[in-house]
């Protein structure tokens, strides 16, 4: 009887220690998850910021200024545009 009791006591002790271990592990993993999620959020906002940056570098106002000043381009007018319709190109193909 005493032996069984001892065995059970040991089992209880063992499972208690295991529980502590599991709890510790779960908290560690949770912290890790938390960190990764924070990183994900940070990258998300970074993406947002970069998208906005990219967009503000490509506003029509800036494109026009650069095209005119740096590249000496001018605005297209219908006079210098050749219009081709879809049927024309189909006929042009041999």
């Amino acid at each position: 009887m005493t032996r069984v009791n001892l065995l059970l006591a040991l089992a209880v002790l063992g499972s208690a220690i295991y529980l502590v271990g599991v709890q510790y592990e779960s908290r560690r993993l949770f912290t890790e998850l938390e960190q990764v999620q924070r990183e994900a959020r940070r990258l998300n906002t970074e993406l947002e910021r970069l998208q906005v940056d990219k967009r503000s570098q490509a506003t029509p106002a800036r494109i026009e200024r650069v095209a005119q000043e740096k590249l000496q381009m001018r605005q297209v007018t219908p006079g210098i545009t050749m219009y081709i319709s879809a049927s024309d190109t189909a006929q042009a193909k041999p």
């Binding site: 949770f30 947002e48 906005v52 029509p60 106002a61 319709s85």
Partner: protein, 580 residues
């Protein structure tokens, strides 16, 4: 058996203690334990919430999960407004005891005078004071690096508007608390806002969250709003308008570009405008969304409606001759005048030459109620057809109260008022086969369903007249643009100066042009208005029509519409081959 307890064998020390005393002690101790047990049970089982709470306060935290405000996009998905992180610096004045050198350094990084900073830090009775909201994160980091006691920071979100002033009046802006204040930001505030979430966590000694407890509320990010605005069209429209306002030394101007098939607003701009990111020293003139809020008498722009009604009801034909000689007429004692006497005109020419007398003669054949019906179904005097902060209905008095002279003046656009936006929208009657369609600021792929006002034939006839009016011999030939057929009406009005309309040489004008292109199958309707041009020219056909022309040209090109009239090609086909 003696009735006492023997503590020792020595008879000298025998004392006679009665048994009840030891029993009493045992009993008292037992009672003490029972008391403790009861108390423990009370604390742990019955009345445990106080201690539970105290415990939780020490290890658990509620974390707010901020919801991102949605973005505002143009019809092609380009960003018009978005949120980016920004850092706000605050101080706890009680803790912040900075010496002079530290204050100077901090003031410099905050970009504010040191005296102002000292004043803020001196507010000892306040536990918390913002030093600067929404700084650039990099600049804020320099402040953190100073490691000043009592100075801390918090991450917030700042709105950025890549299009800046070109789209300011449409997009609007938010305040520092992320609440919409103007434009679409205000109109769709609840959609954009989202809902912040929260969660409960247990934190360890190092402040890391180690476990989630209870239920967490996930944040709901704000939804994106996609507008019908086309950034390129918007920019060109704003640019051309700005150039025209400056060239004509005008007070202000507005432009509206509407898709004639779907009723979508492709561009809506006003000048003067403002940069929604730097809103210091904003004046009311800059903030005003004139295209929607300023009403004026539409003048000649109304004539096509009067003539359209007469054509639609079969009272006149396009070739009916109207005698407008001698260029003036009397209606119940008041004189109606043309700017030049024209003599006998066809109905078409009445529009082309913009004859007030001709229009009045046609209008007087019709009952006032029919005219009122037509005008109001085209949107005049009605609740604004677009939901937008500050949009106004304009004014159209009920037909019952019209005296003959009022019916006469209403026929050529006086005695009623409308915003530029309403005028542009009302012209969908002519562009959309006689149906007036809903205008919208949101992208909309479905074809608009209209409310019929005129028959498709009448609309086509009026379009032809509008084309004549914008052609050689009309009132707005400057509206012509290379490659595309256009049609439209110009308007010019005296503005009130003091109690009258000013005297010659001291008059103030408002000039506008509303038209469409390509005229056979209109794709866009454009309205341009300039307020008080003072550089000599002031007729709508002189100052507003050129802006219309350029806006039409650029917009149709961006939309990929093929020119419908032949153009002199300037392409050099057989250029000299470059030798390599």
């Amino acid at each position: 058996m003696s009735r006492s307890i023997q503590y020792t064998a020595s008879p000298l020390l025998t004392s006679r203690t009665p048994v009840w005393r030891s029993k009493f002690v045992v009993g008292a101790i037992a009672l003490g334990f029972v008391g403790l047990g009861a108390r423990a049970a009370y604390i742990q089982v019955v009345h445990n919430d106080f201690f539970q709470r105290q415990g939780e306060v020490r290890y658990s935290r509620t974390l707010g999960l901020p919801a991102n405000r949605g973005r505002i996009l143009d019809r092609n998905g380009l960003i018009l407004a978005s949120s980016v992180p920004a850092t706000s610096i605050f101080a706890i004045p009680e803790d912040a005891n900075l010496d002079n050198a530290e204050q100077a350094k901090l003031a410099k990084l905050l970009d504010m005078p040191q005296a102002d900073l000292a004043k803020k830090l001196a507010e000892d009775d306040k536990g918390f004071v913002w030093l600067k909201r929404q700084m650039d994160p990099e600049a804020a980091k320099k402040i953190t690096d100073l490691k000043l006691k009592g100075i801390d920071q918090r991450t917030e979100y700042r709105r950025v508007y890549p299009e800046g002033e070109a789209a300011a009046h449409v997009v609007g802006f938010t305040n520092v608390e992320d609440k919409g204040q103007e434009g679409v930001e205000l109109l769709f505030n609840s959609t954009l806002l989202g809902r912040a979430g929260s969660r409960h966590v247990i934190k360890d000694r190092l402040g890391r969250a180690v476990e989630e407890v209870g239920e967490s509320v996930a944040p709901e990010a704000g939804q994106d709003v996609q507008l019908s605005i086309d950034t390129k069209v918007q920019f060109f429209a704003y640019q051309k308008l700005r150039d025209a306002v400056l060239a004509n030394r005008a007070q202000a101007g507005s432009i509206v570009v509407l898709d004639a098939n779907s009723g979508e607003v492709l561009a809506l701009a006003n000048y003067p405008s403002y940069n929604p990111e730097k809103r210091v020293n904003l004046s009311g003139a800059q903030l005003r969304n004139r295209a929607l809020t300023d009403t004026f008498e539409p003048g000649s722009v109304m004539k096509p409606f009067t003539i359209g009604l007469a054509l639609n009801t079969g009272r006149v034909k396009t070739s009916t001759i109207i005698d407008t000689a001698p260029g003036s007429m009397m209606v119940t004692g008041a004189t109606i005048r043309d700017s030049h006497p024209h003599g006998a005109l066809t109905v078409e020419q009445v529009i082309q030459l913009s004859s007030n007398v001709g229009t009045t003669k046609i209008a007087m054949q019709m009952p006032a109620s029919e005219m009122w019906e037509t005008f109001s179904s085209a949107g005049f005097g009605q609740k604004p057809q677009i939901e937008f902060p500050g949009a106004v209905p304009g004014r159209l008095r009920p037909a019952k109260s019209w005296r003959p002279i009022e019916q006469a003046t209403a026929s050529y656009g006086y005695g009623l008022s409308a915003s530029l936006f309403q005028m542009v929208r009302s012209y969908t009657v002519f562009s959309h086969d006689g149906q007036v369609i809903r205008a919208t600021l949101l992208k909309n792929s479905e074809p608009a369903v209209g409310v019929p006002v005129f028959s498709p034939e009448t609309a086509a006839k009026v379009r032809k007249m509008l084309q004549m009016a914008a052609g050689p011999g009309g009132t707005g030939p400057k509206a012509q643009t290379a490659g595309y057929s256009v049609g439209g009406k110009s308007g010019t009005a005296y503005k009130q100066v003091g109690k009258g309309y000013g005297s010659d040489g001291n008059r103030k004008y408002r000039s506008w042009f509303v038209g469409m292109a390509p005229i056979d199958h209109p794709r866009i309707i454009v309205g341009v208005m300039l307020d008080e041009p003072t550089a000599g020219k002031y007729f709508g056909g002189e100052v507003a029509a050129p802006v219309f022309s350029e806006a039409v040209q650029q917009t149709l090109r961006v939309m990929g519409v093929q020119p419908d009239i032949s153009i002199q090609p300037q392409i050099v086909a057989n250029a000299v081959q470059e030798s390599f």
